[in-house]
């Protein structure tokens, strides 16, 4: 089978976030299969992040800086339609987008038949829609659970901007079904490939619980602290390592102080090397309010960590099987979260049993089967041209 031209378009490709890690990983994997991959960032996140330069795929950016408003203007009912300033700003935005889309069109024009454009995020899709995608198939992706989209403006934007895409990919079958029920008949699902394999195994003797993610409301670190306050008193030797940074950092530190657990919680800043951080822990804690198919959970499982997680998204259920390789807790139920943590803290054998289970279970997401799924999807979309 010949290689295809694959364009992977993200909001940006240099932020240290989950989507960016996924994009670089997938780009590398597809390139390894003989596809010609171009990774496109709509804009830059800030100063270029230290990515290896000799990658087997091209990396490019449409806008060095994006200054117009992030989202399009949607006048409400009544007088707001007459807002001249908003109207002008929206015009400015549209004009700037046209330029970026023009650059994207140039890239796409070079593609040979059988090519694919993948918009990894709905914001990036706004550019793909404006670009000339003749002869290519367009795939839009949603890297969060349906519920999470539902609670933000992305629900409406996905429905609007992905409506004409050839395929819309959620992370799990359950999320895809939810999108299908709302009328997105192009909905399908595609899991994230496991970002590391083989991974170093944690020895599960360190008295450390690890929590890894952006310090923002949806990641629920505040609830982790609440639960930790209940656990910590009985297990003074244990530490909670919070890796990550974000807008709530100060509030969380203050919260830890007010709970009297500042001594047992360590805010360790963004983890440059997630795997190293994870392999030093014995339990992984995922207190998120919203998730997709969390990469950090995948990595923790690959390191052989047992996890305690709020059952907040289909992706979490898909990864963790309750009482087999981790403990799932009703979302928001902090006393139950504390009780689950305590069980794993008390019982080293249980940690080892779940840890081994996790390392085995997560292999379902190793790259080969996920790549096979991508290939089948490409073939299905181009069936008229690629039937054997």
């Amino acid at each position: 089978m010949t290689g295809r031209d694959v364009f992977l378009v993200c909001n940006n490709v240099d932020e240290p976030g989950g989507v960016q890690r996924w994009a670089h990983h997938l780009a590398g994997l597809l390139a390894g299969r003989g596809h010609r991959v171009t990774l496109v960032g709509v804009t830059r996140a800030g100063e270029p992040h230290g990515r290896p330069r000799d990658v087997p795929y091209a990396v490019t950016v449409l806008h060095e800086r994006w200054r117009p408003p992030a989202l399009g203007w949607r006048p409400g009912p009544g007088w707001s339609r007459l807002d001249v300033r908003a109207r002008l700003r929206d015009r400015w935005r549209t004009a700037a987008m046209r330029q970026g889309a023009g650059r994207l069109s140039e890239l796409l024009r070079a593609a040979r038949p059988g090519g694919v454009v993948i918009a990894a995020q709905v914001w990036a899709m706004e550019w793909v829609r404006l670009a000339d995608t003749t002869g290519l198939k367009v795939i839009g992706m949603s890297h969060e659970s349906y519920q999470a989209s539902r609670r933000s403006s992305r629900h409406r934007r996905v429905r609007e901007f992905y409506a004409d895409a050839d395929r819309m990919l959620a992370l799990t079958a359950e999320d895809a079904d939810a999108w299908a029920r709302t009328g997105m008949t192009n909905a399908d699902h595609m899991p994230n490939p496991l970002p590391l394999s083989p991974a170093p195994r944690a020895d599960l003797d360190a008295r450390v619980v690890a929590c890894l993610g952006r310090l923002s409301h949806e990641k629920g670190v505040d609830m982790a602290l609440e639960a930790w306050a209940e656990v910590s008193a009985a297990h003074p030797g244990w530490r909670l390592h919070v890796h990550g940074s974000g807008p709530q950092e100060d509030a969380l530190r203050e919260q830890a102080r007010s709970f009297g657990i500042a001594g047992t919680v360590e805010f360790r800043g963004p983890a440059a090397d997630a795997v190293a951080a994870l392999s030093r822990a014995s339990v992984f804690l995922l207190p998120s309010r919203q998730e997709g198919l969390p990469m950090s959970l995948m990595e923790a499982m690959a390191c052989g960590l047992p996890s305690v997680a709020f059952d907040c998204a289909p992706g979490v259920r898909e990864l963790v099987t309750d009482e087999v390789d981790g403990l799932l807790v009703p979302p928001g139920h902090t006393p139950a979260l504390a009780a689950a943590l305590e069980r794993l803290i008390r019982d080293g054998d249980l940690r080892r049993e779940f840890g081994a289970g996790a390392a085995a279970a997560v292999l379902r997401f190793r790259p080969e089967p996920v790549l096979e799924r991508w290939e089948r999807l490409f073939a299905l979309l181009h069936r008229d041209q690629f039937v054997t």
């Binding site: 009912p77 609670r151 050839d166 079958a173 359950e174 895809a176 079904d177 299908a180 029920r181 009328g183 008949t185 192009n186 909905a187 399908d188 409301h217 949806e218 609830m223 309010r289 907040c312 009703p330 979302p331 928001g332 139920h333 902090t334 006393p335 139950a336 299905l380 979309l381 181009h382 069936r383 008229d384 041209q385 039937v387």
Partner: protein, 946 residues
């Protein structure tokens, strides 16, 4: 296209030249490459064949046209012809008036390839093409919630409900290998074909994606075959198809599925025909009854046990040739508020549907559990029959009878009635005139006399139809009934009216019978120029431009009205305008349970205010009806403009749950939040739901709580749990206990208690109050039904001589009690105030209701009946303490133990005395019997802030 197509879509058409290109277009636009279209023209005479040929010529290789020499009269033959010519690996069927979703073939094909299924089925959506605003309704959506793979129809017998052949994709060698084809000489070939396909398939896949849009219309002339149910042959065909399905079930050795198929027949097929039967003539009805009764005899006798209750009753009565009873059952539940058109009979303590006429009550007819006999009148509407419609000069006399099953409305009830004329298109334009009522046996007679020319003022043209209703008010309850014509035809009487716009629109209301069998009136005019005007208006509305214009005007009007009366508008006006008005000193707005009732802490504070004759002007908010609220207060309906005005200007807000969030409380207003009970379940920010909420929602909640200037607490437990969970500022806590609990300590008013005892007909027997907590996730039925977790009949049998059980469901729920238990079990859900009930009760049975904290003050036996403790407390929400550890009485989970504990109340009293007192001391720490006075003295003396 050199290779074999993946999917062949067979499009059948008969005399549908106009719509065929749209159907074929939807196939050509498929996102899956390699789809071929086979158009089969079923002997059309309107040029459909030429259109098909043109399409084939325009898309060579992708579209083929097949012509049948003569019309086959059905869908079977053309589909078979098309399938025979198909070359694709998979086959699908499409009707010329419908369309496929753009990704239908791709989704079905991908699912088939991925799962290896012989048959893949997707969601079908029914849309009315004549209604541009219709977004469609999915066909049996419960089958298409998740993608599912079945190895046999037995894993999901429910699938038999989806009898469409069109929303599916069949592996072609599966069809040929099993010899599957449509029957050609009967209607409803889909039913048999889909059943056979389900049975033959070795694997079935279901996808939640919409694949098929079914354009569904009720044309006056030629409807599609499936909706032309009025021809008797159709019904005969349907029965024949069902007989053949029965044969297929036997042939595939699947007799076990017959029961499910029969249930589907009763729930779906039979109901369809029954609901249309009122419009049919006597000959049709007779013949229908014969045909139906014959097939009833072939059904599995167990079907009546598993079918839905009302269709089962209808089927059962058809078997007895009781057509009227069957119709009443079939029509019950057709409208949003079901209408009771049948008698109810009480026999051996159970309630049965219809007259039993001396026969023993059959279990199928037993409707005790449905609670029809006790349901509030606005949830089950009694049937109304028009008996008289006469005109004497300018006056019209109207009379009728309302059914009163089992004396549901007692003779001494406070009753009032009004006749209403309602503009059907607007619904809000109503003209009312009072009516008289009187009890007459098992009916309530009503009559009214009025001058229609003065009462009813139509505009003309915009309001051609007027419905007539009788609004019946019985105590706190209201029933809106619609009269049906009595026996025989409607009298030839017209009501003279004067339209406001022009007499061209008509000058009289002429009665007619609607499709639902109700009496309604049409605005008509007898003169030639009036008829001409009507014709012109009708024509103008039927042109595309006129229709569009008319719809726009109505849309705009509706939008405007909605916007003006929306809560958002009211909040905006409140926050920007009303709060600028000066505060009226000495006024207060009281509300309890969001306006549900006059009870709780606000009530007892109000009573203290009145007792001490403090000059405070009080507005009481009511949600639905002002009945039962104090007459010496100003009553305002919740969410009305008057309500917001009163709130804006009040010096005090007093409530026990929450005034609308988003209302700004001005600095001059003092908000007394008295709350409605101590907490066992986690509240506020301790509740997982609020913890999970986004920052915006959490902020809204915080703002709502920040408005409280005072929060009543009963104990340090409240301070630690409830107040902390809600985020109430510690400075605002007022530790005086609950005003509503004052009587529990002082003993209450003996005269009022004696009166209540008499009205509940309580004798010397022990009184047990059963008050469970509210469960929102009940298993449906009428909104919030309380299913008793024990058998009330057993209670009545075993303890009825010595005990009386008062059942108090949460105010949002209702309970259906068997009349056989009447002497020992009473429903007290309609009494708004629970405090006197607590005083009357010798013992309390509850589960997790906060009533436990109040009742503990009385130091009487308490029993906790919690069959679902583990599930309730463990997973779902979480509780503040371990019930089993602290409960001041036994925590039981089986009925035998419950009855044994109730039998020995004195033993309970002794055994748990110490725990009970500890419980009362812990949770009722601050209750001293003077809460109401303390609150009133603190806030309402000197009329200022504390």
């Amino acid at each position: 296209m050199p290779q074999r197509p993946d999917v062949s879509v067979v499009v059948i058409a008969y005399d549908d030249a106009a719509r065929l290109p749209r159907a074929v277009g939807s196939v050509l636009a498929q996102s899956l490459g390699g789809v071929e279209t086979i158009v089969v023209d079923d002997g059309s005479t309107d040029g459909t064949g030429r259109v098909a040929d043109r399409l084939a010529a325009a898309h060579p290789g992708r579209v083929r046209a097949v012509h049948l020499p003569e019309n086959s009269g059905g869908c079977g033959r053309p589909r078979n012809e098309g399938a025979r010519r198909a070359r694709g690996a998979y086959v699908m069927f499409l009707d010329s008036d419908d369309v496929l979703d753009r990704h239908a073939c791709l989704n079905l094909f991908a699912a088939a390839e991925e799962t290896g299924a012989d048959l893949v089925s997707g969601r079908c959506v029914r849309v009315r093409p004549d209604d541009p605003g219709d977004r469609g309704r999915a066909w049996y959506p419960r089958l298409y919630e998740r993608r599912t793979v079945l190895d046999s129809i037995r894993q999901r017998p429910d699938l038999l409900y989806d009898t469409l052949a069109t929303n599916k994709c069949y592996r072609r060698d599966f069809l040929t290998g099993n010899g599957l084809a449509f029957v050609e000489d009967l209607h409803y070939e889909d039913l048999l074909f889909s059943a056979q396909a389900y049975l033959a398939a070795r694997r079935i896949a279901l996808i939640p994606h919409r694949v098929y849009t079914w354009h569904w219309q009720q044309e006056a002339g030629r409807g599609s075959i499936s909706s032309r149910r009025d021809e008797l042959r159709n019904f005969a065909d349907r029965l024949e198809i069902h007989r053949r399905i029965d044969a297929a079930l036997r042939a595939y050795d699947a007799a076990d599925l017959k029961l499910h198929k029969d249930a589907k027949f009763v729930n779906h097929d039979l109901l369809l025909y029954l609901r249309e039967l009122r419009r049919r003539g006597p000959r049709y009805r007779r013949r229908f009854l014969e045909l139906a009764a014959a097939y009833m005899a072939e059904l599995d006798p167990r079907v009546l046990e598993i079918a839905n209750p009302m269709p089962a009753i209808a089927a059962f009565l058809l078997g007895r040739s009781d057509l009227e009873g069957a119709l009443a059952a079939a029509e019950y539940g057709r409208s949003k508020v079901p209408e009771l058109r049948a008698e109810l009979t009480e026999r051996d303590g159970r309630v049965y549907w219809g007259r039993l006429d001396g026969r023993p009550g059959h279990p199928v007819l037993d409707v005790t559990g449905l609670g029809v006999h006790t349901a509030p009148l606005d949830r089950v509407r009694p049937d109304n029959t028009l008996t008289r419609l006469e005109r004497h000069g300018p006056l019209v006399r109207m009379a009728g009878r309302v059914r009163n099953p089992l004396g549901r409305i007692p003779p001494d009830a406070q009753m009032a009635a009004q006749v209403e004329f309602v503009d059907r298109r607007h619904g809000r334009r109503v003209f009312r005139t009072p009516a008289e009522t009187a009890h007459a046996g098992d009916r309530i007679e009503w009559w009214a006399e009025f001058a229609p020319a003065r009462l009813v003022r139509p505009l003309g043209f915009t309001d051609p139809i007027w419905d007539v209703r009788l609004r019946l008010t019985v105590g706190r309850e209201r029933a809106l009934t619609r009269p049906r014509p009595g026996d025989g035809a409607l009298p030839e009487v017209t009501l003279p009216v004067r339209p406001r716009l022009t007499r061209l629109a008509g000058d009289r209301l002429t009665p007619y019978v609607t499709e639902g069998d109700y009496v309604a009136f049409r605005l008509t005019g007898g003169r030639r120029w009036q008829r001409a005007a009507h014709r012109i208006v009708r024509y103008a509305a039927s042109t595309p431009v006129g229709g569009r214009l008319w719809r726009r005007v109505r849309e705009a009007e509706r939008r405007m009205r909605r916007r003006l009366n929306s809560r958002r508008t009211k909040l905006a006006v409140y926050n920007r305008l009303l709060v600028r008005l000066p505060v009226r000193k000495g006024t207060a707005v009281f509300e309890s349970g969001l306006g549900a009732h006059y009870s709780g802490n606000p009530r007892y504070i109000y009573e203290e205010l009145r007792r001490s004759s403090r000059p405070v002007r009080v507005f009481w908010s009511y949600a639905k009806t002002p009945h039962g609220f104090p007459e010496d207060a100003d009553l305002v309906r919740r969410d009305s403009w008057g309500y917001y005005l009163a709130l804006a200007r009040a010096e005090f807000w007093v409530d026990d749950q929450g005034f609308p969030s988003g209302l700004r409380k001005r600095p001059g207003t003092t908000y007394l939040q008295t709350w409605h009970g101590s907490a066992f379940k986690r509240m506020g920010f301790d509740h997982p739901e609020l913890k999970l909420a986004g920052p915006g929602e959490q902020q809204r909640f915080r703002r709502m709580v920040e408005r409280f200037d005072c929060f009543l607490v009963r104990s340090r437990h409240d301070v630690r749990t409830l107040a902390r969970g809600l985020g109430v500022a510690p400075a605002t806590l007022l530790p005086v206990g609950y005003p509503r609990n004052d009587p529990l300590i002082n003993g209450g008013d003996p005269a009022a208690l004696a009166a209540l005892r008499r009205s509940l007909d309580l004798d010397g027997r022990r009184v047990v109050l059963y008050a469970p907590t509210f469960r929102a996730e009940g298993d449906g039925g009428a909104a919030g039904r309380l299913e008793l977790p024990f058998d009330p009949m057993r209670f009545a049998r075993e303890l009825g001589d010595t005990h009386v059980l008062l059942v108090r469901p949460h105010y949002l729920s209702a309970v259906g009690l068997p009349p056989g238990a009447r002497h020992a079990v009473r429903d007290v859900g309609r009494l708004p105030d629970v405090t006197p009930l607590l005083l009357l009760a010798d013992a309390l049975v509850t589960d997790y209701s906060s009533i436990m904290f109040d009742y503990a003050l009385l130091d009487r036996p308490m029993i906790f009946y919690t069959p679902d403790l583990a599930e309730y407390a463990g997973r779902a929400r979480g509780c503040y303490f371990d019930l089993a550890e602290h409960a001041p009485g036994p925590v039981l989970d089986d009925e035998d133990a419950l009855l044994a504990a109730l039998a020995d109340l004195d033993g309970q009293r002794v055994a748990h005395a110490a725990r009970r007192r500890a419980f009362a001391a812990r949770f009722g720490e601050y209750d001293r019997g003077i809460a109401a006075r303390a609150v009133v003295e603190r806030f309402f003396d000197g009329g200022g802030r504390r």
